[in-house]
Symmetry: none
Subunit: 207 residues, 2 copies
């Protein structure tokens, strides 16, 4: 069954010959077409394909590039799990800086209390201008955290702010990216000099 090196172009860990740079015997690297088809299948409702389905999918996808049945199996397993994870994750995991900067943040979800449903967002939910009764939102409770109740801008808040000066205040934007619960990373931010515009006074910190 498993004669390493004979499996359709996959060399699985041949005695440590390949290093990381080598692509030859690495893991499956799906083509764009393959990913698209798999994703569409997933979207069509497929979650845990049967052996037969996997076989057929694999055969079909081989048209677009090297692939094995197990790749299909693993793809669905991983995709399903990661989709679930993506929704479940409300940010609380440690992360290293490089990845944060290179990649993206998780979806920072929040719950918005809705009253009447007309449009998904805004005016109503963040209602800076529209008069609404719900001015409070609360974040979803995260594991190990407490719910925070927030107060939105009342209608006249904008007036105050907008008719304020757009004058600079000597401050800086600092971004604290939390990578672990107790570790903080700070980035300094200051605007370019070209416009002598006001530096922001934004401090991003872990709450």
């Amino acid at each position: 069954m498993d004669q390493e090196g004979m499996m359709s172009g996959f060399c699985i860990k041949t005695g440590g010959g390949e290093s990381r740079g080598g692509t030859k015997c690495g893991r499956w690297n799906p083509t764009a077409e393959q990913v698209k088809v798999l994703t569409d299948l997933f979207r069509s409702g497929l979650r845990t394909p049967s052996t037969d389905q996997i076989q057929k999918i694999s055969t079909q996808l081989s048209f677009y590039g090297k692939i094995e049945s197990k790749n299909v199996f693993y793809w669905f397993q991983n995709h399903k799990a990661r989709e679930r994870q993506k929704r479940r994750r409300v940010s609380s995991v440690a992360v290293d800086v490089d990845r944060v900067l290179m990649e993206c943040l998780p979806e920072d979800r929040f719950c918005i209390e809705r009253k009447e449903d007309r449009s998904y967002f805004p005016s109503k939910h963040f209602g800076d201008f529209i008069d609404i009764t719900h001015h409070q939102y609360h974040q979803i409770s995260e594991p190990g955290r407490e719910i925070e109740t927030l107060q939105l801008f009342p209608l006249n808040s904008y007036e105050e702010i907008s008719h304020h000066h757009y004058e600079p205040e000597n401050k800086q934007l600092r971004l604290f990216a939390n990578h672990e619960y107790n570790k903080e990373m700070m980035f300094s931010y200051s605007m370019g000099k070209e416009n002598d515009h006001p530096p922001l006074d934004l401090c991003l910190s872990f709450m």
Copy 2:
């Protein structure tokens, strides 16, 4: 030029009130400073700010000009989506999904069996790795172009291409290389496709 009597629910007040000449009641028109800050926040990793983050960002950015919370919300939504779009465009392909769907999901394509997850690759399913023969590969289509002619690669060619390290000497060559079946393209695709962002907590607070 600024005639819109019926703004899209943005400007409540009628006439006057605008301190800066020519400000109209249309949609939000971010200032350069606002865009810069938003972009920097995005680059720092912020993707989907929470309600309170939005609020604070909005408040800070109001020093640079008129802005609402919803504008911040929309900006991140749009920017995130369009960045993703840009990435995807690199490897967007036309695939006959329906054909594969029909092929893979026998009769009732929406009647999918849902089994419990297997925590490991089940040998019972793939006891004999029926390996697909990889004779042909499609070349990735160029972005925004119809693929009518497909270039086929024999396995040998693929090996050559996929294992060759491209060292583009100029932009054009690099661009060309991007459309080849190679690692770079794949990476680009998965980067754009992946929503699986590393978790990170980012909150805004004033200093």
